[in-house]
């Protein structure tokens, strides 16, 4: 039953990903991408990471996609007007297929190590997933956390300066 559910959600995610790269209008691509983000959030819940699923929906589907849709509506973009060169599409598809074949080959050859760390399902169920991430984030990864705040400040200032009419 869980197997069937996984395959169903995986099929929806792959079809949505295909629609992202295929649709002519950018709005349709954006909506397909939101659908992919929701499927990935379902996968995060299946992988016992509910906090990451909530953050995925809030940040990606709720903030980034809304920003992209704002920009699409602001620039009033229609579909791609000019004719696409078919040889460009063929080369792009060939490169993507090559990447997929390479990755699948190495996935088939390699073996996932059976090394078990200290965080087990029981620990996630008793302590809580949010608490575990908070512990790791504020003790072991404190420096990247602070640097990320500076990164966000720089991004905000940069976005405001870039989009102004007269600097």
């Amino acid at each position: 039953m869980a197997h069937l559910f996984f395959y169903l959600v995986a099929l929806v995610a792959v079809v949505s990903g295909f629609l992202v790269i295929k649709c002519k209008t950018p709005v349709n691509s954006a909506i397909a991408l939101v659908n992919t983000f929701f499927c990935l959030a379902i996968f995060y819940v299946m992988l016992e990471a509910p906090f990451m699923a909530a953050i995925q929906i809030m940040v990606y589907a709720g903030a980034i996609m809304v920003l992209i849709l704002f920009v699409i509506m602001l620039l009033n973009l229609g579909s791609e007007a000019r004719k696409r060169y078919t040889h460009g599409v063929a080369w792009g598809a060939a490169c993507g297929a090559l990447v997929l074949v390479q990755v699948l080959y190495f996935l088939n050859r390699g073996e996932a190590t059976g090394m078990k760390g200290e965080v087990t399902s029981d620990m996630i169920n008793t302590l809580g997933h949010t608490e575990l991430i908070g512990k790791a984030l504020f003790t072991q990864f404190l420096l990247p956390f602070e640097i990320t705040s500076i990164l966000l400040l720089v991004a905000i200032v940069g976005a405001v300066v870039l989009a102004k009419k007269d600097v």
């Binding site: 790269i21 996968f43 980034i64 973009l77 791609e80 490169c95 990755v103 078990k116 991430i133 870039l162």
Partner: protein, 101 residues
């Protein structure tokens, strides 16, 4: 048969290659940006699947940082596209050719 980590890694590979095809094929700059976000999310899925498999929290904290950096990149990249649209009235990447020899 339980869902092993291989299932998630294969799905992540498929999504990543779809994003690659989108970046290489499309000409609209915003659709290229959305394909990049698709690639980032495929890698996020890989991280969380392997983090659960290995019993370590490092992968999920890294996904946290990837999401933060993707949000910052979205803000700056879209502001760049707006600034470019103001000059050229198009977001087609074929029109970004001032530095072309």
């Amino acid at each position: 048969m339980i869902i092993s980590v291989h299932h998630y890694l294969v799905l992540s590979a498929i999504l990543f290659s779809l994003g690659t095809v989108g970046v290489l094929t499309r000409r609209n700059a915003i659709v290229i940006f959305m394909s990049i976000e698709l690639m980032l999310n495929a890698v996020n899925l890989s991280f969380i699947a392997l983090s659960r498999h290995l019993g370590n929290m490092d992968g999920q904290v890294f996904v946290f940082f990837v999401m933060t950096v993707a949000a910052a990149e979205a803000a700056v990249g879209l502001a760049l596209m707006i600034a470019f649209f103001r000059n050229r009235q198009s977001v087609d990447v074929d029109d970004i050719n001032l530095l072309k020899w």
